[in-house]
């Protein structure tokens, strides 16, 4: 077998996979997003779908809301996860380190459906928190804690926590303790050591964690649908309703492309700003 032939054979699966399932579908989706249906099987090409997006305030508002809330969820996840990751990487010793790390992984092995269901049981009007509050005499009647932005945020942060903790722990573990000690020896206090030594060292972990968490929040459908209220519409819900409920694939494809553009832009900007590459961050 010649080297050339075997190279082609080895390349065939990856080319088929990426070509047929990633590249061509996205090109096709782009073409579909450029057309509008004018009659049965008759289409007109143009930017009408994108124009509809920019002229309809509901679409624009939902898009902006989804982006802002995703950034907020990412920031919250980072702030909550960082001390825990630092604890696992630097403070915990011996067996505890492995055990705590494993505990962080557990929710990931459980379906997102189950996690969301758990929060529903806890937060809803007949839920556990509401019952406990009434039992303790802190509330007179049932308290509805579900179907609002806060509940949705709790769910989003919970769902993506692992993807922040793991990269943070990995980068923080590679920080040499003696560097931290040197910082203190040179007269630094907790705050300056954190700002000058720990934080700069953790940047690769922060970037890769944030990228993944942002992506997962932006593309999440389940959490906003089940935990969010009537007003907390998520952009993925609009894509879903255009495709499955209204059967307007053309507009849905345009929405999909806009979401993809936003997520690609943010991933690209985060990589550029931090001087990382996709290969290093994911591979």
């Amino acid at each position: 077998m010649s080297a050339r032939l075997s190279l082609w054979l080895l390349m065939l699966p990856v080319l088929l996979w990426l070509g047929l399932l990633i590249i061509l579908p996205h090109i096709d989706m782009f073409f579909v997003s450029l057309r509008t249906r004018v009659g049965v099987g008759e289409y007109e090409y143009g930017l009408a779908n994108y124009a509809a997006f920019f002229t309809e305030p509901l679409y624009l508002r939902t898009f902006a809301r989804t982006a802002i809330m995703s950034v907020l969820a990412t920031a919250l996840t980072l702030v909550i996860a960082f001390p825990v990751a630092y604890f696992i990487a630097k403070v915990a010793r011996g067996r505890w380190q492995g055990v705590l790390f494993l505990f962080c992984l557990v929710p990931f092995w459980v379906s997102e459906l189950v996690r969301t269901f758990g929060w529903m049981i806890l937060l809803r009007e007949t839920g556990v928190f509401s019952s406990v509050l009434q039992w303790a005499g802190l509330a007179d009647g049932p308290v509805e804690m579900l179907y609002n932005d806060a509940a949705m945020m709790v769910g989003l942060v919970y769902t993506s926590m692992l993807f922040m903790v793991v990269p943070l722990v990995t980068t923080l573990q590679s920080l040499d303790d003696s560097l931290v000690e040197a910082g203190y020896d040179l007269g630094g206090n907790g705050f300056t050591v954190f700002r000058e030594i720990i934080l700069p060292h953790a940047v690769p972990g922060i970037v890769s964690g944030s990228i993944v968490v942002f992506m997962l929040s932006l593309g999440n459908y389940l959490t906003p649908t089940m935990l969010g209220g009537k007003d907390s519409l998520w952009f993925t819900e609009m894509i879903y309703s255009q495709f499955i409920v209204r059967f307007n694939w053309e507009l849905g494809a345009a929405f999909g492309f806009l979401l993809l553009a936003l997520s690609s832009f943010i991933v690209w900007a985060a990589l550029k700003l931090s001087g990382q590459t996709l290969e290093k961050t994911l591979g």
Binding site: L7, L10, M11, P13, V14, W17, L21, I22, I23, P25, H26, D28, M29, V32, I80, Y86, F87, V91, R93, F103, V106, W109, V110, S111, E112, L113, V114, R115, F117, G118, W119, I121, L122, T126, V128, S131, V132, Y158, D177, V180, E181, Y184, G190, F194, M215, G219, Y221, L222, M226, T236, Y240, F243, W249, G256, L260, S264, V267, L278, E279, L282
Partner: protein, 283 residues
């Protein structure tokens, strides 16, 4: 803040308290879901009405347990079939990709590698709709030209498998590639020096070395497929996998049979994860 640098006891203890609170937050929804699987009440909510196994083994309405709910059992079977198919496909293609990227040099290798990573940064719902759009374009084209309806390319299990495969393959590739990169190639050369052909050397030396990564990526692929929701939601036809079935029930508000299913899922995936850890430790 490392153990060798003394800190006031108050700070140390509040740090520990924070980490403890964090792990309570992680555990809370999962524990709640599990506990209510045993509540002898028609709703997964307080008050506690006593312990029961009915939501697993009960065989009469209204307390029909999951082992007597046909639709749930069928959905579990569907999910398992899909997950096995996705696991086999993605590990197979991942293995080819690992050899391609580790062993071969060719033009545009860097570009292909980045393309290979892309499915991880495309939101799942967009992967779903792009494949949905493209497959119907192809199916419609075939129907118009040849007058033959390609049932396989309409929403259904085949598309669900393809959709999940499209991004799980990236993960399988990365896992296998990471281990192959640490392989000492002189072992393979030794086998060939002893008279083995290249393929025999790979089969008897390299593949056994890769076995933990193959098993690991197969388990990860199986679990990710079993739990996938976003991509599946867009591609599903009339046969609902478990996540879709659970989603429909969650929207309607279900009896604790949903908790029983969730607990079963948790036990199942922990068992699989445990098997994987054991396999990897043995090597």
């Amino acid at each position: 803040m490392i153990p060798t640098i003394p800190q006031p006891a108050a700070i140390r203890w509040s740090y520990r308290a924070y980490v403890t609170l964090f792990f309570l937050y992680l555990a809370l929804p999962l524990v709640t879901v599990s506990v209510f699987a045993f509540n002898d009440s028609l709703f997964p909510a307080l008050p506690w009405e006593g312990f029961t196994w009915d939501w697993f083994f009960g065989d009469e309405r209204p307390k029909r347990g999951l082992f007597h709910e046909r639709s749930i059992l069928r959905a579990i079977g569907t999910s398992a079939t899909v997950a096995v198919a996705v696991g086999l496909l993605s590990v197979g293609v991942g293995l080819c990709n690992a050899f391609l990227f580790d062993r071969r040099e060719f033009r545009l290798k860097g570009l292909l590698y980045v393309l290979m990573l892309l499915p991880l940064v495309i939101p799942g719902i967009i992967l779903g709709i792009s494949i949905l759009v493209f497959s119907s374009t192809v199916a419609n084209g075939v129907e118009d030209r040849l007058g033959y309806d390609l049932e396989l390319l309409r929403p259904g299990l085949a598309l669900v498998v393809l959709g999940q495969f499209s991004f799980i393959t990236t993960i399988a590739t990365l896992v296998i590639l990471a281990r192959l990169r640490h392989f000492d190639r002189s072992l393979e050369e030794a086998a060939m020096g002893l008279g083995a052909g290249r393929l025999t050397a790979i089969r008897t030396v390299t593949l056994p070395y890769l076995a933990p990564a193959l098993v690991g990526s197969a388990v990860v692929a199986f679990l990710m497929s079993f739990e996938n929701f976003n991509t599946t939601l867009m591609l599903v036809g009339s046969d609902a996998p478990l996540t879709i079935e659970m989603f429909d029930r969650m929207k309607e508000g279900s009896t604790p049979v949903l908790n029983a299913v969730s607990l079963l899922l948790m036990v199942g995936s922990s068992a699989l994860a445990l098997v994987m850890i054991l396999v990897q430790r043995r090597r």
